[in-house]
């Protein structure tokens, strides 16, 4: 056989063999494993902070803020999961992915939550407390992974626990509050100390759960990806990142698969569908107006946040701006600023949009202050060092001082006032005075309580469904006159004018009793007994509407 040339390069050309990654490992690649002492010191900081978080959120948990419609909806859906084995108490229409209230249902099932409280929403708020505690712990971890010192991490958790904006929104039963721990977990796992592949895969899974809990968290995707990209070493990046991406897509596709298995992926007559749900959220849902327009809903929403904690909002915007110059805070600062900028688009701005911004703000403010403090201390020139120290110390002291002053009043209100009383009184009045087969139009916040008080499930109607759910419309062929009572709350007052049957019912009703004042007022209205002639003549909703229109003419 002829001489054979080997296909590999000539011996002399062999390059140096081992290509050891290690010298220039990216951030977070392999810091030493924390020792027992360090862990103990962290616990000494963290445990009191968690106790503080729990106390501030737990004291007067049910008193403030007053229960509102969304809270009731998510709680009722969790209740439906455990009680009826359905995804919602009405036909599930893919408004949000169901994982949020499925988790809540898991908690209430495990702890028998609904049987422990008079008001079902309280069980939901208890779960929010759990979520906040988990989120606070994860926020500590994230701060530490981002190279913040223990005092700075403690400051982050303290802001997260004490800002009135945080306390009010953390108490309310929002899907966002359930998604936040998953989001924070994703960022913690995206900064793994050792097992990068497992960390990234876990981060992707956690982030998938966050998105399936509240779809708006998808906005964080580019920033989580960025965080992973900069942390991944070139030698393993080509495996690590595709695996993480695949895990995220797989988790997300469970929602699509579920819709497909229920034959609800694409629109079809007489069925809800994922397509319609997404279309509604992205296109059809009425926008909140232009944020700069003082009469817009978006402006009002931001006003709610601003009144609760203007200090944190200003501080966080400033901190995020400066954090763009701090390497380890950069992705989170960019995420914060991008989400803020996103509010200026004309679409729908949900009130709880602020929820994922709170932990970021809590993290960026002390993180940035500390980073610049560190720079001042490391500065070579004594003059600059003194000046920098003074400046940073002044900013920090002023911040603490302002916080003390501006947080006191709203925190006091959150910790002591009973704003939910009108709701409870209205519920009690109904339970006492209404017949169990009466048909009630109510705020969803009391739906579960009334059903549990013995009212027929079909007879207690969430006001939002009166005009929108075909099966509810079908159960009231005579329109407004098929209802006996309407309980009017603030969220319902805001909807009025857009819901024909509901508007008619209110127009034909008179106030029996009202509790509370101002925006917290809850009124019970009794719908007028219909003239039998009109009733027999009214064959359907359309006729009823016509009759209403004519009778409304003075």
């Amino acid at each position: 056989m002829a001489a054979v040339t080997l296909s590999r390069p000539a011996t002399s050309a062999v390059r140096p063999l081992p290509r050891l990654p290690g010298d220039e490992l990216p951030e977070g690649a392999e810091p030493p494993r924390p020792r027992g002492g360090a862990r103990l010191r962290s616990l000494l900081w963290l445990v009191p902070l968690l106790a503080l978080t729990g106390l501030v959120q737990g004291i007067n948990l049910t008193g403030a803020p007053q229960r509102f419609d969304d809270e009731g909806t998510y709680v009722a859906q969790a209740f439906a999961v455990g009680t009826y084995g359905d995804l919602a108490h009405y036909t599930y229409f893919y408004d949000h992915p169901p994982l949020g209230w499925l988790q809540m249902a898991g908690w209430t099932q495990l702890t028998a939550g609904f049987s422990r409280y008079e008001e079902a929403v309280t069980a939901g708020r208890e779960f929010m407390l759990v979520c906040t505690l988990v989120a606070a712990g994860l926020l500590w971890l994230l701060a530490r992974r981002l190279e913040m010192s223990r005092p700075a991490a403690a400051a982050a958790v303290a802001i997260f626990a004490l800002s009135p904006l945080a306390v009010q929104f953390h108490r309310s039963v929002y899907l966002d509050n359930i998604a936040t721990p998953w989001l924070l977990a994703a960022f913690v796992l995206a900064l793994p100390r050792r097992e990068q592949l497992a960390g990234y895969a876990g981060a992707a899974a956690a982030f998938g759960v966050a998105v399936l809990t509240k779809e708006t968290y998808l906005l964080f995707l580019p920033f989580l990806a960025w965080q992973m990209w900069r942390g991944a070493h070139p030698s393993t990046r080509r495996y690590v990142l595709p695996v993480a991406g695949t895990v995220f897509v797989l988790v997300g596709s469970v929602y699509v698969l579920m819709a497909a298995l229920k034959h609800e992926l694409l629109p079809s007559a007489g069925r809800t569908s994922l397509w319609d749900g997404v279309w509604f959220q992205l296109v059809d849902r009425p926008g909140s107006g232009w944020l700069a327009d003082t009469s817009s809903a978006a402006y009002a929403t931001v006003g709610i946040w601003w009144r609760l904690d203007p200090l944190l909002i200003v501080a966080a915007l400033l901190a995020a701006r400066f954090a763009l110059h701090v390497r380890h805070l950069l992705p989170l600062a960019a995420a914060f600023l991008t989400l803020v900028a996103f509010m200026f688009r004309p679409g729908y701005l949900p009130v709880p949009y602020v929820v994922p911004l709170i932990p970021l703000a809590a993290l960026l403010v002390p993180g940035t202050v500390e980073a610049f403090l560190g720079r001042a201390l490391r500065s070579a020139r004594p003059h600059a060092r003194r000046f920098g120290l003074t400046a940073v110390a002044t900013v920090a002291a002023a911040g603490v001082g302002f916080a003390g002053a501006s947080w006191q009043a709203p925190l006091d209100a959150l910790l002591t006032t009973d704003q939910d009383r009108p709701m409870r009184q209205a519920q009690e009045w109904l339970e006492e005075h209404a017949d169990r087969d009466d048909r009630l139009i109510v705020d969803d916040a009391m739906w579960v309580d009334l059903v549990r008080a013995g009212f027929d499930r079909a007879g207690v109607v969430w006001y939002y469904k009166v005009d929108t759910d075909p099966s509810v419309v079908g159960r009231a062929p005579d329109g407004w006159s098929d209802y006996d009572y309407v309980v009017v709350t603030e969220s319902m007052r805001r909807l009025l004018g857009d819901a024909p049957v509901l508007d008619d019912a209110i127009r034909h009703a008179s106030t029996v009793v009202a509790f509370g004042t101002g925006t917290g007022m809850v009124e019970v209205l009794e719908v007028a007994v219909v003239d039998p002639d009109v009733a027999t003549g009214a064959a359907g909703p359309a006729t009823a509407a016509t009759a209403t229109a004519s009778s409304a003419v003075p």
């Binding site: 056989m1 002829a2 001489a3 054979v4 040339t5 080997l6 296909s7 590999r8 011996t11 062999v14 390059r15 140096p16 063999l17 081992p18 290509r19 050891l20 990654p21 290690g22 490992l25 690649a29 392999e30 084995g85 793994p192 050792r194 097992e195 990068q196 592949l197 497992a198 070493h233 030698s235 393993t236 080509r238 495996y239 690590v240 595709p242 695996v243 991406g245 695949t246 895990v247 797989l250 469970v254 698969l257 579920m258 497909a260 298995l261 229920k262 034959h263 992926l265 694409l266």
Partner: protein
């Protein structure tokens, strides 16, 4: 002569192998296909009734049993697929773990003497080059022992010619056992070894000149008893399955074998494996009756507490070619699987010190059984999916095994890109397409081999089926670097073999 030809399987003997025995991703692939079928809405409509209907009609005992079966199968398949993909990714867990799989860069003086064994049977076409290359390794103290059969004058002549060219390096040992197989040949040569360490190579291996020095370093640095080097199939464009075969080797030696070394239960590869001579002599050499003697010695040494280290660098991995035809790959897989079953039956692994190791052993060695059983289970569960009214949560659960399967496909795509990069080949879109499209048929193929091995073992048929090779992984001078002509090279080489 022609009776003893390699085509006569019952008499056939040694073979080279070094062995990615892949866990049954076939399971998940099959299920995945079932999943894809169900994903198409029209089928799904017919197949899965809404949960409400089920609760209305009530579930009878058969339905409950069916659903339970479905759930258990799904969970089982998921567990298998998850372990498989986790082991597949073991080396890339972190930059540090990847660095730890390679050779260290430190320069050390050689400390050991080596005896390199090269069993050859009817391989006169390739053996001469291999011996020349082995004689030129950069190491001061080693010997090469070519082992030829007493009934194989062609190979014998080539080996003796090489010994004449390299009198200080190459020796020839004649194996006169009947019937012949690789472990017998190795045991015969073991008696003649003078080195501190025994290394095994196959007759067509393309060995890197620096390999021995690096292996020597590795022994010094780790204090290991056994060092397994990397082996890589190179002819990825020869046929539709050769690409998948190459990738199997890539993941096995690049990643998974390191996991097994760390878990202290390792089925060794058939070549580029180095064992302290005293240790293998104490252990009584290779098991002459086992069809997977490399796996067997790995398990036996693991059980005796030997420290096994795996070292991989693409540059110095020993290069090989895939079997020449699908049929011979089929026989090779059957033999490996059956070898695993034999090791399982032999039960040496029961003496492993920790429960974890024994569990690992049982899991790994049972793989052929699991593969075969799954082949039966899959159609049943698909049938159930299509006929039973499955509630949505259970229907979702049956898709669970699809998740790790998709991940492993993505990892394979990433791995193919990496493979092309480290071995300097341009990977084209059609290679990726072939990788993905070949996945399912290849798994079916592996399942068939698994079932055949179980049948053969149950029948007590333990004969050797030799794997045939052409010389595709080397470029002949005429066609050097001309990849499109590999097929021609293949034909030429085969022609030569026939002629001899």
């Amino acid at each position: 002569m022609s009776v003893n030809d390699s085509r006569s399987h019952e008499r056939a003997d040694r073979a080279r192998r070094s062995a990615p025995r892949r866990a049954p991703r076939l399971l998940t692939c099959l299920l995945g296909t079932a999943g894809l079928v169900l994903l198409s809405p029209s089928v799904a409509r017919a197949a899965v009734e809404p949960a409400a209907r089920v609760s209305e009609s009530g579930l009878d005992a058969w339905a409950v049993a069916g659903l339970t079966f479905l759930v258990l199968v799904s969970l089982f398949l998921t567990a298998v697929a998850v372990t498989t993909v986790a082991w597949m990714l073991h080396a890339w867990r972190s930059p540090q773990s990847l660095a730890a799989t390679g050779f260290s860069g430190r320069h050390r003086l050689p400390e050991r003497t080596f005896s390199l064994l090269v069993p050859a049977r009817h391989e006169e076409g390739v053996l001469g080059d291999t011996l020349d290359a082995l004689a030129a390794l950069q190491h001061p103290r080693y010997e090469v022992i070519a082992i030829v059969g007493h009934d194989d004058p062609g190979t014998d002549a080539v080996a003796r010619a090489a010994a004449a060219r390299h009198p200080s390096r190459v020796r020839v040992v004649v194996d006169d056992s009947v019937p012949k197989n690789k472990p017998k040949a190795l045991n015969r040569a073991l008696q003649e070894c003078r080195g501190d360490v025994v290394g095994v190579f196959d007759a067509e291996d393309d060995v890197h000149p620096q390999l021995l020095r690096l292996i020597d370093n590795r022994f010094t640095e780790t204090g290991a008893d056994v060092v397994q080097g990397g082996v890589q199939l190179m002819n990825m464009r020869t046929s539709w399955w050769s690409l998948r075969n190459c990738m199997e080797y890539y993941f096995w030696f690049r990643s998974r074998l390191h996991f097994h070394a760390q878990a202290r239960f390792i089925p060794l590869g058939g070549n580029t494996v180095f064992i302290r001579t005293a240790l293998i002599r104490d252990a009584g050499g290779w098991d002459a009756e086992c069809l997977a003697e490399d796996c067997e010695i790995g398990v036996r040494l693991s059980t005796n507490g030997a420290r096994v280290v795996v070292a991989y660098d693409p540059e110095v991995a020993t290069r090989e070619e895939t079997p020449g035809s699908l049929k011979s790959l089929y026989k090779q897989r059957t033999r490996w699987n059956q070898g695993f079953l034999q090791v399982l039956r032999k039960g040496e692994w029961r003496r492993l010190p920790t429960f974890r190791q024994r569990l690992m052993a049982r899991y790994l060695l049972t793989m052929p059984f699991l593969q075969a059983a799954t082949g039966v289970m899959i159609p049943i569960s698909v049938l159930l999916m299509l006929t039973a009214k499955v509630p949505t949560p259970i229907a979702l659960l049956t898709f669970l095994p699809l998740a790790p399967t998709v991940v492993s496909l993505v990892v394979e795509v990433a791995g193919l890109g990496d493979f092309g990069r480290v071995y300097g080949m341009r990977i084209r879109m059609r290679d990726y397409a072939r990788l993905l499209l070949g996945s399912f048929p290849y798994q079916v193929f592996l399942a068939a081999a698994a079932i055949r091995s179980v049948v053969r073992e149950l029948r007590g048929d333990g004969s050797w089926e030799k794997t045939e090779h052409s010389n595709v992984h080397r470029s002949l001078p005429v066609v050097a670097q001309l990849r499109p002509q590999l097929q021609t090279a293949n034909a030429v080489s085969l022609g030569e073999r026939e002629a001899v």
